[in-house]
């Protein structure tokens, strides 16, 4: 007996959207907005920009959904729209930006990794939460949009190299090399923070 292949629910939702069912697209918005928000926000470091960009990302996806042929997963497709739109936005914005750290989820203080990190690392222990977050955001903003995208997807969102390479349309080697360079740059910025 042939094994039943689990059906990806996204395929059905996409097909329904393509057939004109707007509610199916709403379900895709509900499913992907938290994850895509994290991606866009960590690349822009600004909640208002992240909100506006994410609205545009979903609007573009909705307009282009009839062109989606399912050669990649919907997950990869919508992530590549989000990354490309955010990179273009960052290139246009240049150095004009304002970090926004309001609405930050303070559950971070209960996170196991955070507790462990603050307990073992004395410079970090000395720094308060907002200062640490601000330093991380500052360090991220010093990276180029392409490097920031790779760090966001790999280090913050925990995506594998193969998935990132599909989203960005570059080889896994390029992803590894961008990560290496980005980590080296971040290391230099955080070293400055430690010396303070």
């Amino acid at each position: 007996m042939a094994e039943e292949v689990p059906v990806n629910p996204d395929i059905e939702l996409v097909a329904r959207t393509q057939a004109g069912d707007a509610r199916a697209f709403d379900e895709l918005v509900i499913k992907y907005s938290p994850r895509l928000y994290g991606l866009v926000y960590n690349m822009t470091s600004n909640h208002e920009d992240a909100n506006d960009l994410l609205q545009e990302v979903f609007a573009k996806a909705f307009r282009s959904i009839n062109g989606f042929r399912g050669k990649s997963s919907f997950y990869t497709w919508i992530h590549s729209i989000a990354v490309n739109m955010t990179i273009n936005f960052l290139k246009k914005r240049g150095r004009r930006f304002q970090m926004s750290l309001d609405d930050v989820d303070l559950n971070i203080q209960n996170d196991k990794e955070f507790i462990e990190l603050t307990a073992t690392s004395s410079p970090v222990r000395q720094a308060d939460l907002s200062e640490l977050q601000q330093k991380l955001n500052e360090s991220m903003l010093k990276l180029s949009p392409e490097h920031r995208a790779v760090v966001t997807m790999f280090d913050i969102q925990g995506m594998p190299h193969a998935e990132i390479s599909k989203i960005l349309g570059v080889s896994e080697g390029t992803i590894r090399s961008r990560l290496f360079y980005a980590h080296r740059q971040l290391q230099a910025h955080l070293d400055e923070f430690r010396k303070r």
């Binding site: 994290g38 609007a59 009839n66 559950n107 955001n137 991220m140 913050i156 980590h183 430690r194």
Partner: protein, 154 residues
């Protein structure tokens, strides 16, 4: 002291907690729908039709369509260029009789006449006539005529 690369990754992972409050995502969908409706009302019909057609063509068709448009543009440019060349040539041909040799202009061939009168051709002067065959050939080597060399005797 150098930062441990794992520590950088750990620090970066903390950024995943920078999330808005849960009700934000509920509002997000409503805002998205409102924006979509507002955009539909704002956008002209031709723009909506263009977007839908472009989306329908899909990502696979777009490169082919691009090549097709580029080829058409090249062919159109070539057609315009060749038309201009042909047009300038026809202008040249039209003005050509005025620049013909005077002898050709005065030439009038009367095929019905008993004797065909040829137009006057410029006469060949001895200087321009081929007279080389009248003289004995002279072979020149090292800028000195060979015929001037004394015959070698073995």
């Amino acid at each position: 002291m150098q930062e441990d690369p794992d520590e950088i990754s750990k620090l970066l992972r903390l950024k995943r907690f920078e999330q808005p409050t849960p009700d934000y995502f509920e509002r997000f969908l409503e805002e998205f729908k409102d924006r979509q409706r507002a955009q539909l009302l704002r956008e002209p019909a031709w723009r909506i039709a263009w977007d839908r057609m472009w989306a329908f063509l899909g990502e696979q068709m777009r490169p082919r369509l691009g090549y097709g448009l580029a080829s058409t543009a090249v062919l159109a440019a070539a057609a315009i260029a060749s038309f201009n060349i042909l047009e300038s040539r026809s202008v040249e041909v039209a003005s050509a009789p005025e620049q013909q040799h005077p002898a050709a202009q005065t030439a009038s061939l009367n095929l019905n006449a008993d004797q065909v009168q040829l137009p006057d051709l410029p006469s060949l002067t001895p200087s321009t006539a081929h007279t080389a065959s009248l003289n004995t050939p002279r072979y020149v080597m090292d800028a000195r005529p060979v015929s001037y060399e004394p015959p070698s005797s073995f």
